[in-house]
Symmetry: C2
Subunit: 123 residues, 2 copies
DNA sequence: TCAATGTATGACATTGGTGTGAGGGTCAAG
DNA sequence: CTTGACCCTCACACCAATGTCATACATTGA
């Protein structure tokens, strides 16, 4: 598919798709006329990238961890450096912290909204 | 306590503490000499603010939801506008999405690291 | 008293993710 | 052949969070 369709299917500005490519997060072939052409799987990848960006990971880190999140991972095992492992462990721990933070605040907001809705019903 | 101690206890640059105050996220009294003076509870608040910033919430939103996360919340109930409720619901839902995304990727990284460590032990 | 440390304000710079627009090709439908 | 929709690259602008620096006052200990 071309960039417009990818943009629609991922609800992502075309500008950003080019940017993600520039940052090495997604890949495209080129049609004879120079247009970018994407494989289907890129749709999912873009969604994943956007999710990770939303939770505060910079593209630099996303680029590093993406290959490990790709399903058929056995291929990558031989290439893993200790450095890479350290990065992954760090990010894994940071993610755990974030999950904890989000969960706590999510519950607090939910409880609050719950209380408010009771209040309204009572008045 | 003064700003230096707060900085140490929250592991936050002094610069940022002043910024958070400017954004209305924390509050300080002033000592006779003009120095900022903080209550103990501000330590926790700063940590909460940093956590929320880390997971991608902008200060504008944090400022809105913080009052609802303060424990003694009954006081705030009468002041809640429908507008505010809408904001809270939106943020609650966005948080849920983020938790899902993080959980998924956290597990993927964990699994990957697990696989790698087995590989290493086997070789 | 002097030096060191902490604090205040204000200004400017940087960074990363975005928005936006200029200027120009491609191509299919009318 | 022209129009309109889509694509290209490049450049400049923007915003929020953060870093850094300059200048100056306060406090404390040698």
């Amino acid at each position: 598919m071309r960039i417009g369709e990818l943009s629609r299917r991922t609800d992502t500005p075309v500008r950003m798709l080019r940017y993600y490519e520039e940052q090495g997060l997604i890949h495209s072939e080129r049609l004879p006329n120079g247009y970018r052409s994407y494989e289907d799987y890129v749709v999912d990848r873009v969604r994943q990238v956007r999710g990770l960006l939303e939770v505060g990971l910079p593209t630099r880190i996303i680029k590093q961890i993406l290959p490990c999140l790709d399903g058929s991972r056995a291929i990558y095992l031989p290439y893993v450096t200790p450095d890479m492992i350290a990065t992954l462990e760090r990010e894994r721990d940071r993610m755990a912290e974030k999950i904890e933070c989000l969960t706590k605040n999510h519950r607090a907001i939910s409880d609050y909204l719950e209380a408010v809705s009771h209040e309204i019903r009572a008045s």
